[in-house]
Symmetry: C2
Subunit: 192 residues, 2 copies
DNA sequence: AAAATACATTGACAAAGATCAACAGGAAAA
DNA sequence: TTTTCCTGTTGATCTTTGTCAATGTATTTT
């Protein structure tokens, strides 16, 4: 239990056995079946989820019912509506499972105590959010600077695992495209 | 000196006079004239800059010479090529001054010592990067979900100060558009 | 096994945005 | 002052992407 979570933690900030044992008490495991919601728009996001196994997506829904994926969460990543989690405002994103998944939940109160009690946890959190920031900046740069084909190639080589496990229309959504357009980009690339 | 920096710091994490005095020793002031570079693509980003006064932009340049603004930095914001700063790899962004500016620089070694010596500095850093992450996520959501007009309106109401002080073609670049397209969006909005 | 659903592809057409070129006003530089 | 450069606008046209509809296939559900 919590295997990947502590692997990831120790890689960033090494823990003693005792620390690990104490931190464990703040964690809650959760399993999610494919298509189940972890969070629905309008609800308050009460915990951050570390993905031990499986795949999730966070997305918003526009007036016309269109879904826009803001983030994927595969093994080793953290997923949440961070703004809602931090402020207590209603969530603007939905989060659901693309595959059967196993999560480690950290509630708001757990997060607060962990930050207070364990300086190493604050470092872990800081490094995580920094990594997430850099990943998102790369994505944004890609969007405003490159052609579709470059962006898609980029995505594939950066996240081959996502490309393989997730349906293409979701990748289109993540890229801000219609499924048809992505399909055509791929055809063009294959014909070479 | 460093007035805004410590205001911002104290708002997030209150400091004693003694702490403030000690932290000051790690900071370096720098003035930049309009159009001067703080960082050029290919160089290593050796410090993070807090903007005390003025306005800067971080941008990448594509093969055809097109500029793509990834971030503005006005008073109270921090600007850097964070990836380059953290890894020591050559920077992929340029940073220059849009107006005459005054900065507070924190070098890599200063950053490391501050993080080690002052838990409050780590908290400050964590809160800063979290804020930057949330701002970027809002921007990304806007890009993949909304129409141009919605995005522009959104931008204006979120950053009225940027909209006023920065030339429109830079805002177009920030939005991933040509100046002509942004001009047309504005005309359409004015005619109502 | 049959039916229903989800997924990817293709075509025809419409809409959005980019490109190229010209022009005008204002600020900065000479 | 005169000149140059920077900025924003507009028009005409081209390219890219979206929309709508149809189709085939795989996957899930019953």
């Amino acid at each position: 239990m919590y295997k990947l979570f502590f692997e990831s933690f120790n890689r960033k900030v090494p823990l003693t056995a005792e620390e690990e044992k104490q931190i464990k008490q703040y964690l809650t495991p959760k399993k999610l079946r494919k298509k189940q919601y972890l969070l629905q728009e309008g609800d308050v996001c009460r915990s951050v989820a570390f993905v031990e196994k499986g795949a999730l997506r966070a997305y918003s829904v526009d007036d016309k019912g269109g879904e826009h994926i803001i983030q994927f969460g595969l093994e080793g990543w953290t997923i949440a509506d961070l703004f809602s989690f931090l402020t207590g405002e209603p969530a603007t994103y939905n989060i659901d499972a693309i595959e059967d998944s196993e999560l480690v939940l950290i509630s708001k109160s757990a997060q607060e105590e962990l930050l207070q009690r364990f300086p190493k946890y604050e470092t872990f959190t800081r490094l995580n959010i920094t990594g997430a920031y850099l990943a998102m900046q790369r994505r944004l740069t890609s969007i405003i600077s490159f052609t579709l084909e470059e962006r898609y190639t980029n995505f594939i080589s950066l996240y081959p695992d996502i490309a393989q496990r997730v349906p293409q229309h979701m990748i289109a959504s993540y890229m801000g495209l219609t499924p048809e357009t992505l399909s055509r980009v791929r055809q063009k690339m294959i014909r070479r």
